[in-house]
Amino acid sequence: MTDKSIPIVVVDDTGSDRYIARRRLSRHARFDPVLEVETGERFLSAFFQPPVSEQVAGRRAVILMDINMPRLDGFETIEALQDRVAADGGPDSIVILMFTSSDNPEDRRRAAELPMVKGYIVKPLDDAGVAQIVRLYDAA
């Protein structure tokens, strides 16, 4: 394990789920203060602008991506992000983890098909989940 801290963004439309993630992650020494975004669309614009772009610049960031969101769902957001990174370039490397209450095989299959997605974290986030995020981050 390195001591380098990890920038982390939580994309989730449910306020309580962001709150739970914030509390769990803030107790862990590895993580920067959590950046919160409420929708996929806002994430797509926020990711390429300050303060998010500044915080992730030159570092590998973790994105916890909710699946079930209005307008763009988590998968659609990641697809749009992939297109944008392919076109304009973007942050050097990001570790996207699906963040959902659904243990649905269909969702796991879709997640596995997206090259940017490195893992699957099932809600509610607890300390074991946080440890899993760190493991997946270090392995990625």
Binding site: S16, I20, T39, N68, P70, S102, L125
Partner: protein, 486 residues
């Protein structure tokens, strides 16, 4: 011994009915068999014109026919002889096959006639014909040259021809136009093999109806050795109904597959939308335990409040899902009521305590009386109105919502229009889908699903037209409600 005496001797020992006729048509000699066949006492026919044995309808022309034979007398053997009818003494008609031989009797040419009673054979032929005609399958007998020798009744029904329009023609008249040229080649190769087999080698097979229509068929070919040489009996089974039945089954399977897709879509959505609040509540309560252990009562109270709110929202969602499930059945008795009054009450409930709401307009015919399931219509209007309020366009100074109602012979047409934000074209196909939330203003993503389910259960339909920046109009068309309530 005269010639006649010699013949008399031969006649008496012959079991076959025989007679001799002189050129003038007079019966000169009969044997016992012939007398018996025609019901005359022995010898009673001698001296009579042969026409007494001929049916009335040909009696007049018979002397000419007889005369023609006598001018060019030829042997006409049995079997190749013609099937004729004879008349007995009592006027009964009997089917006969006759053989004719010119014979020299004391210097004159007479005719010797051999008669065979073919009534039994005729009856057997008739029984066979009736049996073949009773068959539901078309049966066609074809000779080595592809000429139709015989058809049964089912053949005529299937192809739309009379028997005499088919017999004597080549079988290619029943073959589809595009196969007509190659069919004789197949036919010739089959005749060469003389082995029974189904036709078409497993592919789809069609025949041609008189009208040109293609009939889907199955055909079995059976070579039969007949007195006329090898013939082929083709048994043709009409598959029109079976094909229609297959199509029906395919359609039903497709409908079931569609329902199954809908169900798995529901299961998928439920796995998100019903499980998500539970995960949230579990996460919040887990943190509460920590907060309480840490003596942080204020944080714990906030988390409990958030958990309660999540649970309440989830309970409302479950209730909404149940009402969609219930909307699929239990029709209510229709009522005739003033729709404006109901709409105003719904509007007042929805906008209570909120200041800046769109103006509610009406465009009703007559007194605005409609006949429908009042409570169901209330649910529909409430959901449409709730959406219109949430998706009002704040940029427009004059915001309005308009309910239009028209009743006519076909039923009731309600339109609910607004000048709100409008729905993007890409999102329009999904607005009726369960759990589909358009954006943050959406609630549980169930309202329009419920509306659509109700409308469809009442036998109606709902349409949507919308332009971003202009507004949205939902049109609900309902047939006149039936008075019967299950």
């Amino acid at each position: 011994m005269s010639d006649l005496d010699k013949y008399r001797l031969a006649f008496d020992v012959s079991p076959m009915p025989l007679l001799l006729v002189s050129a003038d048509g007079v019966i000169r000699l009969t044997n016992a068999g012939l007398d018996e066949l025609f019901g005359y006492p022995v010898g009673a026919l001698i001296g009579q014109p042969v026409e007494v044995l001929v049916p009335e309808d040909v009696r007049a022309i018979h002397p000419d026919l007889r005369g023609a034979y006598m001018r060019v007398p030829t042997k006409r053997g049995m079997g190749r002889g013609r099937d004729l009818t004879g008349v007995t003494r009592t006027g009964g008609r009997i089917a006969l096959e006759l053989g004719l031989d010119p014979v020299e009797i004391d210097g004159a040419t007479w005719a010797m006639v051999a008669a065979v009673d073919i009534r039994a054979r005729k009856a057997q032929d008739e029984r066979l014909r009736l049996t073949l005609d009773a068959s539901a399958s078309a049966m066609i007998t074809v000779d080595g040259e592809g000429r139709i020798i015989a058809v049964n009744r089912a053949t005529c029904l299937l192809f739309g021809y009379e028997p005499d329009e088919l017999v004597g023609q080549t079988i290619e008249m029943l073959v589809p136009d595009d196969q007509r040229r190659v069919h004789p080649v197949y036919r010739a190769s089959f005749h060469g093999q003389n082995r029974a087999r189904p036709m078409g080698l497993g592919g789809k097979l069609y025949c041609r109806h008189r009208s040109g229509r293609a009939i889907p068929v199955e055909i079995a070919l059976n070579p039969v050795s007949s007195p006329d040489g090898w013939v082929v009996v083709a048994t043709v089974i009409d598959l029109t109904e079976r094909d229609a039945h297959e199509r029906e089954i395919t359609e039903k399977a497709d409908a079931l597959a569609e329902m199954n897709t809908e169900l798995s879509h529901f299961a998928y959505s439920a796995s998100h939308d019903l499980k998500a609040p539970l995960a949230t509540v579990a996460g919040l309560l887990d943190l509460c335990l920590e907060d309480l252990s840490a003596g942080n009562g204020a944080e714990a109270r906030e988390n409990i409040a958030a958990a309660v709110e999540t649970v309440q929202r989830a309970a409302r969602k479950v209730e909404a899902i149940l009402s969609i499930a219930r909307a699929g059945r239990s029709p209510l008795a229709p009522e005739t009521f003033a729709v404006e009054q109901d709409m105003r009450a719904i509007w007042a409930d929805l906008t209570a305590g909120t200041g800046d709401v769109p103006r509610l307009d009406f465009d009703l015919d007559g007194a605005g009386m409609v006949t429908a399931e009042r409570q169901t219509l209330g649910v529909i209007l409430e959901n449409l109105a709730s959406n219109a309020i949430r998706y009002a366009d704040p940029a427009k100074p004059d915001r309005w919502v308009r309910l239009r109602a028209r009743s006519d012979a076909d039923g009731l047409k309600l339109s609910f229009a607004d000048n709100g934000l409008g729905i993007p074209a890409a999102a329009q196909p999904f607005v009726f889908q369960m759990f589909k939330r358009l954006d943050d203003r959406s609630q549980d993503g169930l309202g329009l699903s419920l509306v659509q389910k109700h409308v469809e259960r009442m036998g109606g339909c709902i349409d949507l037209t919308s332009d971003v920046g202009v507004g949205t109009e939902f049109t609900v068309t309902l047939p006149h409600p039936s008075r019967e309530v299950r």
